[in-house]
């Protein structure tokens, strides 16, 4: 009886291959008719981070990849270590120039491609 040859195998585990996280967010105002351009939107995000986490985290590498002024929705990119900080500062942001507003986080994913399809809006016919 021949002994079975030793099986060789290699196991590769990826904990988190992506170093960025992507968020699809939408800004809602209490009153209608408030508009922001892309620069003002980014300024709002950075001031939210600065209020809660200070100047050190206001300098996190945050990018606004797309921005639509009509619907006030955007896709943001942040490094993975800063995701929790960005999300919590968006949650606690209450007002812009005295007007009440709130951020709605629609989707979060480490892969940008995942933001193209949202299974919540899936319509099955």
């Amino acid at each position: 009886m021949m002994p079975a040859p030793a099986a060789t195998y290699e196991r590769i585990v990826y904990k988190n291959p992506s170093e960025h996280h992507y968020m699809k967010v939408c800004l809602e105002f209490q009153d209608r008719g408030v508009g922001l351009n892309a620069a003002q939107f980014k300024q709002l995000l950075i001031s939210a981070l600065k209020d809660l986490f200070g100047e050190v985290d206001a300098a996190l590498p945050l990018d606004v990849l797309t921005y639509e002024e009509k619907t006030l929705s955007a896709i943001l990119r942040i490094c993975s270590s800063g995701l929790v900080k960005l999300w919590s500062s968006l949650t606690l942001l209450g007002s812009y120039k005295g007007k009440k507003c709130a951020f709605r986080v629609i989707q979060v994913s480490p892969f940008l491609l995942a933001l193209s399809g949202n299974s919540r809006e899936l319509v099955l016919n």
Partner: protein
């Protein structure tokens, strides 16, 4: 055993102006550190660090400061110290900076380090001394601190180190 653990940051205030050290006040300094943490780390940092924060020891002659903070957030305090650039007193602004010498878990370890550090500083001062009167005074302090070490062995008297530090100024 469950208890609150702290970290003690031993810092030295370095400044060009000799009046800066004399205007050190523990409440003013505590307020300054808290404001700097609020600026650098925001509301979260200010709240997290101010729970266990206290100025435990202050020496106006040598500019040595001992700050206490909770163990979970000592890095926030430590990283905010380089952002302190001036000390304000009665309308005068003195540019200065904080040099962190040692981080310890208890006051006793910080004290032990401070005694050794003061001894080394005395020897450095002796080398750079120009005035004869000063040289004699420093040599006396050095011999006194060495004698104290031989007498008491493990139990260091902090008075020796601190009096010698006062004689430095």
């Amino acid at each position: 055993m469950v208890r609150f653990k702290h970290r003690y940051l031993l810092c030295e205030l370095m400044s060009d102006d000799p009046r800066c050290r004399l205007s050190l006040d523990d409440r003013v300094l505590g307020g300054l550190v808290r404001d700097t943490i609020a600026r650098v780390h925001g509301t979260f940092g200010a709240a997290a660090c101010s729970i266990g924060f206290a100025v435990r020891y202050l020496n106006a002659y040598t500019g040595i400061v001992l700050l206490r903070c909770r163990k979970e957030f000592y890095q926030l305090v430590w990283s905010a110290l380089p952002f302190i650039t001036y000390l304000e007193n009665k309308g005068h602004r003195y540019p200065c900076f904080f040099n962190t010498l040692y981080v310890g878990g208890t006051i006793r370890t910080c004290q032990k380090f401070l005694i050794q550090y003061n001894r080394r500083q005395l020897l450095i001062l002796l080398q750079n001394c120009t005035d004869e009167g000063e040289r004699e005074a420093i040599q006396k302090s050095v011999t006194r601190s060495c004698l104290l070490e031989e007498e008491s062995g493990e139990e260091e008297l902090s008075d020796g180190g601190e009096e010698a530090a006062e004689a430095m100024e």
